[in-house]
């Protein structure tokens, strides 16, 4: 009999998904699905795990965001993009709350998000670097070139099979 492995999500991620599922304002969540990571434009704020909550309080949209890496400069841009998206949709009053805990972790990424990343050219293995495969050719014969890639969140890898370099989203 085959092992039926159901990947378990961290508790805080379960709660976040429930907040979305039970939200009184599903249209706001859907609106923000179009706000993408500026460096990895195939992944939305929600899929990244940055968007923690969105509520409407007396015509003011309250966005709760959590930063990925402390020094990530993209968070500022994502915040501005989110504000613009909301303003354009008729919600000019936006209050952004930044929360540090629970601390962001790559464990929150959905497998759909990981597949999108892989197709885009960024390896995002669920089970850590040991399971990394080349986004170009799929080979597992890869090696780390540097702990730091084009952004703070990525490492630089090289595929020994097709010889192409690629970024890998570091697991923290």
């Amino acid at each position: 009999m085959k092992d039926n492995l159901i990947p378990l999500l961290p508790e805080e991620e379960m709660q976040r998904r429930q907040r979305r599922a039970q939200s009184e304002w599903p249209e706001l969540w859907r609106l923000l699905d179009h706000v993408m990571d500026p460096e990895i434009p195939v992944i939305s704020l929600y899929e990244l795990g940055v968007l923690q909550d969105v509520q409407l309080e007396n015509d003011v949209v309250v966005l709760t965001l959590t930063p990925t890496y402390i020094g990530c400069p993209a968070l500022q841009i994502m915040e501005e993009d989110a504000r613009k998206a909301l303003t354009d949709a008729g919600y000019p009053d936006v209050r952004v709350v930044k929360t540090l805990s629970p601390a962001w972790t790559t464990a929150w990424l959905t497998s759909a998000a990981r597949e999108k990343l892989q197709r885009y050219g960024v390896a995002a293995p669920l089970d850590g670097v040991a399971a990394a495969t080349c986004p170009q050719c799929g080979s597992a014969d890869v090696e780390a070139v540097s702990e730091f890639g084009s952004t703070a969140c990525k490492a630089l890898y090289r595929c020994a099979a097709c010889l192409e370099p690629f970024d890998l989203l570091k697991a923290i």
Binding site: P67, Y69, I70, G71, C72, P73, T99, L100, S101, A103, W104, V145, S146, E147, F148, G149, S150, T151, A152, L156, K170, I172
Partner: protein, 252 residues
Amino acid sequence: MTVHEAVKTYCLRLGDDALILGHRLSEWTSRAPFLEEDIALTNVALDFVGRARLFYQYAAELSGGDVTEDTFAYTRDVREFSNLLICELPRGDFAFTIVRQFLFDSLALLFMEKLKHSDDSRLAGIAAKAEKEATYHVRRGREWMLRLGDGTNESHARAQKAVNGLWGYTNEMFEVDALTATLIEAGIAVDTEALRAPWFESVSEVLTEATLAVPNTDWSVEGGRRGIHTDDLGFLLAELQFMQRAYPGLRW
């Protein structure tokens, strides 16, 4: 001093450490030995500047009024900075930068592991994030220490010289003064004195593996926490703060 003010001062110390060290790392931008290392050093610098921002933002909130993170970074003079001396030393050669970073990061990891249990939830939140990055920094530092120490004659000599030159600055990292003691009592601050032994154990293990000698010195320098700094900090601030000083209130 109220606990409120004490936490703010404590916060500024941690923010100053991060800002000054982050600035020293950023001085390698476009000057590193090769491209991947240029990116690595600047990424680590970014981690530190980000860490400084988080501490400064909290300190600004505790201050109230018009004070912002920029007030702390760009308008204070040398005597008002409370960073450790080891952070402000010039970047030196590549070995010096790597060794200094490794010595500091080894403590930072132990420190953040403890700080994330602080009774101050904001400090605990910052520490939880900083700890993840510190884990990477220590791993990277260890690999470089091994490559430099157990490398060529030249890399070994430069690394040993750096270790010898920096050792006397490490004592200050563990000192607990009256302010810190009060906050430790309150369950907010970290007892750095208690981290001295584990730090020494992990650092000397790496030094030995890298065939570097652990210095047997008894000299040590301190003063940073009291605002007594080396000449170097003045020059660093002149560069860091130039724009704000020349055009006060300047905004992007």
